[in-house]
């Protein structure tokens, strides 16, 4: 066993101090040591984004950081996004817009979307797609994910009928996205 290093990290509002191997990845620390299994591992090459978390409010891929690099920093995972039992707007929007199917990319996709909106609160469809470039989804074809992010940017408020309005949102998006003529 390699030598250990002590780290102190704030994760989802709780401060943890642990001895870790220097080679332990942040995502492994979150999942295996803290039980934060909401953050998932989808690849080995920083391509899929399933492991995306926030480090001091900025999205990072936690498979591409060592746990020791998070020493002294604040980490937010998908499990820390809802506050006082109330879903964050993006979580609600993903639900309302049917922006997830198998759900495996969802934690990373939501965390990246939050970061995207923080940097650019009113993105176009193209800017949303470009901003999510590092997060792969194999189920949704992205259209409803884009709609969900746009709906948060637009401040859409959902009713409590339990019935989706995503069709309308997608139509609105098509209208908004008229500047977008193709994929590049």
């Amino acid at each position: 066993m390699a030598s250990s290093t002590s780290i102190t990290v704030d994760v989802d509002g709780v401060t943890y101090t642990d001895d870790v191997e220097p080679r332990l990845l942040l995502v492994q620390y979150l999942r295996e040591r803290l039980g934060k299994t909401g953050t998932l591992i989808g690849c080995d090459t920083t391509n899929c984004g399933a492991c995306t978390v926030h480090l001091d409010g900025v999205s990072v891929k936690s498979c591409t950081m060592f746990a020791v690099q998070a020493d002294g920093h604040q980490v937010t995972t998908i499990e820390g996004l809802a506050q006082n039992g109330k879903l964050a707007p993006l979580q609600e929007a993903f639900h309302q817009c049917h922006a997830l199917q198998c759900g495996f990319c969802t934690p990373g996709m939501i965390m990246q979307s939050a970061s995207l909106l923080k940097e650019n609160p009113h993105p176009t469809e193209t800017e949303i797609r470009d901003g999510l470039e590092g997060n792969l989804c194999r189920c949704t074809g992205y259209q409803n994910i884009v709609a969900a992010v746009k709906s948060v940017a637009d401040g859409v408020e959902y009713d409590e009928s339990g019935v989706s309005v995503s069709d309308d949102l997608v139509d609105d998006l098509a209208a908004d996205g008229s500047e977008r003529t193709g994929v590049s």
Partner: protein
């Protein structure tokens, strides 16, 4: 949305029972835990004393194993055991292939850990069992394997010549030859005669590249051998089939195996498999007496998870000068890879019934040679045989239209089955029950602005615009709802195609639905709740759907082939109907009336013509308390049903793609994509839309982005997400989707299935569009994926070979 038939079977029968749930875009019950990170994927599982596995894999695509030295690995920190194929030869059995397509099908033995010979790069030669994943992976490097390299055969057409054999134990690379001939089957005439007599014959060879399913969740398996029963959690689409397969492969009584598919992160056919890793994890756990976990890396997943497609299609289509097709001949080479997986051999055969598409062909012949190569085995991938068939016929219809200088839509219309001609017995031997190709096409043409885009195309051609425009047409149908058990029997498939369900009524009147379908993203919990809420008149929120655990859902055939609603959903409805029948007896007793005088609507039995009624919840409690049951009636409302379809269902649709091709760079982009699908009666339009979007993404991606690429030595070059292009959000267009609705008659709901539709139709639409943009420049074909490099080279070759400029 256009309804093209007023009432199908959906309108019949129990239409009186509050139909308020069918067709409602209910938000998903599955979402809450997934959006908050409370997910239960297999790799999240930790059990006391759990050990971790790592696989030692062959770097060679074909070699003899001459020696394995595991001593250094065994001595490595944290390692408890290392097992080779020889160590477990007596217990590992041979992985199952349940679809011997011909009586003389040849297949090599398929041990989970290779014993003497490896036949593809990545095949497992040993397993490390250690206290941590890191310790297990560290020790992989310490296993010393001596190999004698053997010649490899990677190319399918070369493999067909048998010059190099993929296995030293087999005399030929040919596994089986499967033929359908309409003249022999009595479904049509001789295709040879038809082609000989045709005024026009177009002959082409098309290539279906090898694809990787690339579900987002890498496969993971946990096995707990403690206690008297073995419990497996696995990232699988098929917990029931897996349980059966583990029992027969390892000789464990089926009753001693429990398989649980918890949250499963996508499958697309890629998790329709019994894997070596699953077998090895069971063997390891039994040996160690402790829970064991194996989770693959993404590289392993891409390298050795089964692949899809991989066919060479040699095609001949004949027609009159007016464009009436006279016959279609299909001759396939299908790449099995090195072994036959669960249904590897049957995948191309599933396509055999679909090469005639939506058309009235008088003659048809299909021949498929299943061929071994030194690559991982192929098996189901979204569409499984049917995308390949649709690609072939839709590409050929465009080639024929070009030959005849005819609009591709006009050619299709001349040949398709008219809506007045259903039910229609096809030349491939199926009976299409319903459809309305005219309606779907008309709607697609309107949404697409077909005439406007053709005019724009003409302008760009006349101006010699550097970015040329092409219009890709694809019409399709598919056989969904796999499958009538008798048909599967006739095709020599080992199992049936039924599905099972239970409806359990709790004392409160809440309802538990147990389904043999095994969802991995489709939204069954939501849709099945709608079905039962609709049928029993109980609130949607009061229905709980249980699935994916063989101890909870004892019988099932699982999820693939767009079968869940059309087969599994019908079993749910049948079980719900039995609940109503049971409740009726108790309700009549409670109201002291005759059963014949009762009607059931909106969750209550009412005595006809009176105000007297008893709610479902009251009956549920009466059955629970059992204080006042009629004589001889059991005190519960639970029921179960097994549904076996009498026919497939046949969704169809028309997809139109406007493709821009930059003739200077070869860059291709989707300007506009319109699809109008007819998937019959829709339970939840939001879920249907989601399935269509995801299907389109995968089909478009086959056309433009994805390919499993190998070097000459047999190593996968596209072995990570850096090299295997799973498209991201910027790589895909905004889809314009719509539906028409022609109810199916093969099930009481009128549903058809939607899981594979988008994938099947979109690939030829995109490629037809790309070719339509550059055909006038002399380009005749571009192999998939149509990358900028391939398009650019095709344009350069056309220039140098004197193509029209």
């Amino acid at each position: 949305m256009t309804t093209t038939a007023e009432s199908g079977p959906a309108g019949a029968g129990r239409a009186d029972i509050g139909r308020n749930e069918i067709g409602k875009a209910r938000l998903r019950k599955e979402d809450a835990h997934l959006i908050t990170g409370r997910s239960r994927y297999t790799d999240n599982m930790v059990l006391p004393g759990m050990l971790h596995l790592a696989m030692v894999r062959s770097p060679y695509a074909h070699a003899k194993i001459t020696a394995i030295d595991v001593s250094a690995a065994k001595a490595s920190a944290g390692v408890l055991a290392v097992l080779t194929g020889a160590d477990i030869a007596g217990e590992q059995g041979s992985l199952p292939n349940v679809w011997p397509v011909t009586p003389d099908q040849k297949a090599p033995e398929h041990p989970a850990i290779a014993v003497d010979e490896v036949a593809f790069s990545g095949e497992i030669v040993a397993v490390i069992i250690a206290r941590s994943v890191a310790a297990a992976r560290d020790a992989v490097e310490l296993v010393d394997v001596d190999y004698d390299e053997l010649p490899v055969v990677m190319d399918l057409e070369e493999a067909f010549t048998d010059k190099v054999l993929a296995h030293t134990t087999l005399e030929s690379n040919k596994s089986a030859t499967w033929v359908f001939d309409s003249a022999e089957a009595g479904t049509g005439t001789s295709v040879e005669d038809a082609l000989a007599d045709s005024e026009v014959v177009v002959e082409r060879t098309l290539y279906q590249q090898r694809l990787i399913p690339a579900f987002m969740e890498p496969r993971s398996t946990v096995v707990d051998p403690t206690g008297e029963q073995i419990t497996m959690w696995s990232s699988t689409q098929i917990p029931h089939i897996l349980r059966f397969a583990l029992a027969i492969t390892l000789g464990i009584p089926e009753s001693k195996v429990r398989v649980i598919a918890p949250d499963v992160g996508g499958g697309f056919g890629g998790k329709l498999q019994v894997t070596p890793e699953e077998i090895i994890t069971v063997v390891a756990a039994r040996r160690m007496g402790k829970p064991c976990k194996f989770t693959e890396t993404r590289s392993e997943s891409l390298q050795v998870g089964h692949h899809g497609r991989a066919q060479v299609q040699r095609l001949k289509i004949g027609a009159t000068k007016e464009g009436i097709v006279t016959g279609f001949s299909v001759n396939l080479l299908a790449d099995m890879g090195a072994y036959l997986g669960l249904i590897t051999s049957g995948i191309p055969i599933l396509g055999a019934f679909m090469y005639n598409g939506i058309y009235k062909f008088p003659a048809y012949r299909f021949e498929c040679n299943n061929i071994f190569t030194n690559k991982p085995w192929t098996d189901a991938y979204r569409g499984a045989g049917r995308p390949e068939a649709t690609f072939a016929i839709e590409r050929m219809m465009d080639e024929l239209a070009t030959e005849l200088a005819m609009d591709p839509l006009e050619l299709r219309e001349k040949n398709w089955i008219k809506h007045t001609e259903f039910p229609f017995a096809t030349v491939a031997g199926l009976e299409y029950d319903t459809g309305n190709y005219e309606a779907a096409t008309a709607k697609a043409v309107e949404l697409f602005d077909y005439e406007g885009l053709r005019a724009e195309q003409k302008r760009r051609r006349e101006n010699n615009h550097p970015v040329q425009l092409g219009i890709g047409v694809s019409t399709f149908t598919e056989m969904c709802g796999l499958a009538p058990s008798r048909v599967l029997g006739a095709l020599n498939y080992a199992a049936g195609g039924w599905e099972h369900a239970q409806v359990r009524v709790l004392p409160t009147g809440n309802v538990e639905v147990v389904t043999g379908s095994s969802a991995h993203g489709q939204g069954h919990e939501t849709a099945w709740s709608q079905l039962v809420a609709d049928r029993l008149g109980v609130p949607f929120e009061n229905v709980e759907v249980l699935h994916g655990d063989t101890q909870v859902s004892q019988r099932g055939m699982d999820t693939y082939g767009s079968r869940s609603l059309t087969v599994g959903g019908m079993a749910v409805l049948a079980a719900a109907d039995k609940v109503i029948e049971k409740a009726k007896v108790i309700a009549a007793h409670m109201m002291e009336s005759s059963e014949d005088d009762l009607e059931f609507a909106n969750g209550a039995f009412t005595v006809k013509g009176t105000e007297q009624s008893t709610a479902f919840g009251e009956i549920a409690f009466a059955a629970f308390s059992a204080h006042n049951m009629p004589d001889g009636v059991e005190p519960n409302l639970d029921s179960e049903a097994t549904f076996d379809p009498v026919n497939f269902s046949y969704p169809h649709g028309t997809h139109l793609a406007a493709m821009e091709v930059d003739t200077e760079t070869g860059h291709v982009s989707v300007l506009k994509y319109v699809c109008v699908d007819d998937v019959g009666v829709v339970v939840n339009p939001m879920l249907v839309e989601g399935q269509v979007h995801g299907g389109l993404a995968q089909g478009i991606s086959q056309a433009l982005y994805e390919e499993a690429v190998y070097d000459d030595a047999g190593t996968l070059v596209s072995g990570s997400f850096v090299d295997y292009l799973v498209p991201g959000a910027p790589d895909l267009p905004h889809y314009i989707t719509d539906r028409t609705e022609t109810p199916a008659t093969s099930n009481q709901l009128g549903a058809k299935g939607v899981g594979e539709a988008g994938t099947i139709a979109s690939t030829p639409a995109i490629v037809n569009g790309v070719l339509d943009a550059v055909r006038h420049l002399g380009v005749k074909d571009i192999k998939m994926p149509c990358t900028p490099s391939r398009v650019w080279h095709a344009l350069q070759e056309a220039k140098t070979s004197g193509g029209v400029q």
